[in-house]
């Protein structure tokens, strides 16, 4: 519209503009209220999550002992992390742990949850649920110590094996190169199985029983029901389980620190423990930070596609 009529139009529009303004003001007020509500959490998030993250990226570009003067090394620390044989083995270990922490925990969790739901109902089911969830309540340090006794040469596992005539295969499970990582993985399964089971059980409670009924009328067996109804209906819960367990595997620290300390050799060394050792024992803060950044990226690379694939809402 030409400029001439603009003034008139403005005059006519006054009420409308006022209305829009007041609505905007209300909106702004609401926004401020919203920000105010979020502020404490946001502040904590910025101080304890974002800031350390940025500082870690900063440290990763230097060679620094944590106290004295630092030396700019650019991306050298990242080159070391991504090319050094040991670091590659350590990262590989973390992915092998995903197999245990994630695949076995979630897979077994599905089976156990179905069993509890269909077969072991009532008091026994509640008891089973409690027992399975217990590892979540026990401090992992205590659990790690207990497991290192269970898996020792004179531990319960070997005693049982000896009693059933398998004395020939007894060994120090956490001290042998071939069995240490799987043994640590099984401890992880023990810890995470309960969490997965309870999460999945809750999800199963929300499935419409009519679906099962109609499936049964159509002649589906328990296995078919499981694959055609239970698993697809639990898509979101499974996504949560996979995300949590995958991160637990990649970022594992306490179980490994207590049960094996990363040994023998580097057989059970994981990025979390290596970061700790580099930074606080070896005073190589830069290298440790670079590994930490790589670990964060790996976690994101693993977790984001899981979110996409399952189409699940973010946690």
């Amino acid at each position: 519209m030409p400029a001439a009529s603009a003034a008139g139009a403005r005059a006519q529009d006054r009420p409308a503009t006022a209305l829009r303004r007041s609505r905007l003001r209300a909106l702004r007020r609401a926004n401020w209220a919203g920000w105010l509500m979020v502020a404490p959490a946001l502040l904590v998030y910025v101080i304890f999550v974002l800031q350390p993250l940025v500082i870690t990226v900063q440290y990763s570009l230097y060679r620094w002992d944590g106290i004295g003067a630092s030396q700019w090394v650019g991306l050298q620390n990242y080159v070391t992390v991504l090319t050094d044989q040991n670091f590659i083995q350590i990262l590989t270990n973390a992915f092998q742990l995903i197999l245990f922490f994630c695949v076995i925990s979630v897979g077994l969790g599905l089976v156990v949850a179905s069993l509890i739901r269909r077969v072991v109902t009532g008091r026994v089911g509640t008891a089973a649920r409690t027992v399975l969830f217990l590892p979540q309540v026990i401090p992992l340090v205590a659990a790690g110590i207990a497991w290192s006794w269970v898996l020792a040469l004179s531990g319960v596992v070997n005693q049982i094996l000896g009693a059933i005539g398998l004395g020939g295969i007894t060994q120090a499970w956490l001290g042998d190169f071939g069995t240490a990582l799987p043994a640590v993985g099984l401890i992880g399964v023990w810890v995470l199985l309960g969490l997965c089971t309870v999460l999945l059980l809750t999800g199963m409670g929300k499935i419409d029983p009519a679906l099962y009924e109609s499936a049964r009328i159509d002649g589906a067996g328990p296995v078919q029901e499981f694959w055609s109804i239970t698993v697809p209906s639990l898509r979101n819960e499974i996504a949560v389980c996979i995300t949590v367990t995958a991160i637990a595997a990649l970022a594992s620290f306490d179980i490994v620190y207590i049960s094996t300390g990363g040994g023998p050799g580097l057989a059970t060394m994981v990025p979390g423990l290596e970061i700790y050792q580099l930074a606080f024992v070896g005073q190589q803060v830069g290298l440790a930070s670079a590994l930490a950044v790589v670990l964060v990226l790996l976690v994101l690379i693993v977790v984001l596609p899981i979110q996409r694939m399952t189409g699940g809402e973010p946690l």
Partner: protein, 488 residues
């Protein structure tokens, strides 16, 4: 932490109001441009000269209780307490290591003798102290006395008090040089240069043995040569006994480093091992002599002299099993004396690792129980006086032996106080005197750099046990790790 770490990686809500986070992120990035570690490194300052003895000070000294007067006579005449700690109430801010009674007993006795000095004692596990010490020393409340894990970085960062002036004043420089060597840091590394720490006492390592089992394999006296020791190990194996009980799990660190270093000192000079530990420029652990030592250790591994689950055995388990009679020998240090005395009374023996040839000199790992003073400590003079008192006061030296179980060091003309009769402590004390006489004290190859134990020796020794590493490969790897960490 394990299962709930996910919270950290939650997706952020879609950014309708993206400005505030963006501003915050930009600010943080701006911060990131600055180099870390801008803490100004103070130049290593010479210690302030202690106040001159005044009439008031000597008057106060004469009022001190009788015990103090008696002990003052024993220590050097020039060092009176009031001169260093003053006459006003002083509170020493100290950080001790949890689980070790010695410094606590010494501090109590010190206050008993010098009532104007009281203590504010904090304590922590040694492994935590390793992490905390730099921050403690650099912090707002720097300790007057602190248990030190390693020193080089701390000295480089100007966090520790230079003790050279005190050494001259108290006459520490007249002591056997091997006592102070590990506490010196200079341009060529540890071992020479200025003094930055003092040992409360000096631990000694060697071979403990179960007397009953040793008699069973016909051992009537400790082996005099490596060959004799080899023969005893073979006999123990043939008798169906566990020849050596040792730990080698990562959680405790590779205990096979003990026999390895003993073997190194047999095949080569102890001084070469020390040079490497003290980070002398151009030294390497990958020498022909050390290769022979590593090969010798490999022979022991392959002969089954160590427990088959050694890679899973932690330090406390190893001791527990040895005390229960599993293992004829174990490589350990005199810090376990009291424990062995209690758990296997009359059945525990000790000998120094035998030299390669009969009549050869003895060498052993021996560490000062190292304590230092923060560069900015308010009562540095008093802390230095405490160091001197520990080494020279008869009561303190007795505590050093009977509570600490280790050689008290100090001026060579002072007698070593005896421990309770029948205690293994007497054996380790005699051994310590032998090693100091032979100038054979060594640091520990596991302490050469901050993470050489966790990242080098331990995994490599475990691999050698598992048959996944050769002696040559181990030495090469550890040397590479050493250079990488030293940044050269």
């Amino acid at each position: 932490m394990l299962s709930f770490a996910s919270a950290t990686f939650r997706r952020r809500p879609p950014g309708r109001h993206g400005t505030i986070p963006a501003v915050v992120a930009a600010a943080l990035l701006a911060v990131a441009c600055a180099a870390p570690g801008t803490t100004p490194a103070p130049a290593s300052q010479a210690p302030t000269a202690p106040p001159a003895a005044s009439a008031a000070a000597s008057a106060a000294a004469s009022q001190a209780p009788a015990s103090a007067a008696a002990s003052a006579a024993a220590s050097s005449a020039s060092a009176s307490e009031a001169q260093y700690c003053g006459t006003q109430p002083v509170t020493l801010n100290a950080w001790f290591e949890t689980g070790f009674q010695l410094p606590f007993s010494l501090s109590q006795e010190f206050t008993k003798q010098f009532p104007n000095v009281t203590w504010k004692i904090s304590q922590d596990q040694f492994t935590n102290l390793i992490n905390e010490t730099p921050r403690l020393l650099a912090g707002a409340n720097p300790p007057d006395l602190v248990r030190l894990p390693t020193m080089v970085t701390l000295v480089k960062d100007g966090l520790l008090k230079n003790l050279d002036t005190y050494a001259t004043q108290f006459g520490w420089d007249q002591w056997p040089s091997s006592e102070l060597a590990q506490n010196r840091v200079g341009p060529t590394g540890v071992g020479s240069g200025s003094l930055y720490a003092m040992g409360l006492n000096y631990s000694m390592t060697g071979v403990f043995y179960n007397k009953k089992l040793a008699a069973q394999i016909g051992m009537t006296q400790p082996p005099q040569t490596l060959a004799e020791f080899d023969a005893l190990l073979a006999k123990a194996k043939a008798a169906g006994l566990q020849p050596i009980m040792q730990w080698n799990a990562s959680a405790s660190g590779g205990g096979l480093a003990f026999p390895l270093q003993d073997l190194m000192a047999d095949y080569g000079p102890a001084s070469a091992v020390n040079d490497w530990i003290f980070q002398k420029k151009g030294t390497t652990i990958d020498t022909p002599a050390n290769l022979q030592a590593a090969q010798h250790l490999q022979k022991w591994i392959q002969a089954g002299y160590f427990p088959k689950d050694v890679n899973a055995i932690q330090y406390t388990d190893s001791n527990g099993r040895f005390e229960k009679g599993e293992g004829v020998f174990t490589f350990n240090g005199d810090w376990e004396d009291a424990n062995y005395d209690k758990q296997m009374p009359g059945n525990i023996g000790f000998f120094l690792f035998p030299p390669a040839t009969a009549g050869g000199t003895y060498a052993a790992m021996s560490s000062p129980l190292t304590y230092g003073i923060a560069a900015k400590a308010p009562h540095a003079d008093c802390a230095a006086f405490f160091f001197n008192w520990v080494a020279t006061n008869p009561t303190a030296r007795q505590i050093d032996v009977s509570v600490g179980g280790s050689y008290p060091g100090g001026p060579p003309d002072l007698a070593v106080p005896p421990a309770a009769s029948g205690s293994i402590i007497n054996d380790t004390l005699t051994a310590a005197q032998q090693v100091f006489k032979d100038n054979g004290t060594m640091g520990f190859i596991a302490n050469a750099t901050g993470s050489i134990f966790a990242q080098g020796w331990t995994p490599e020794l475990q691999k050698m046990v598992g048959g996944q590493e050769t002696p040559a490969g181990m030495l090469k790897y550890v040397q590479a790790q050493y250079l990488q960490e030293l940044g050269s």
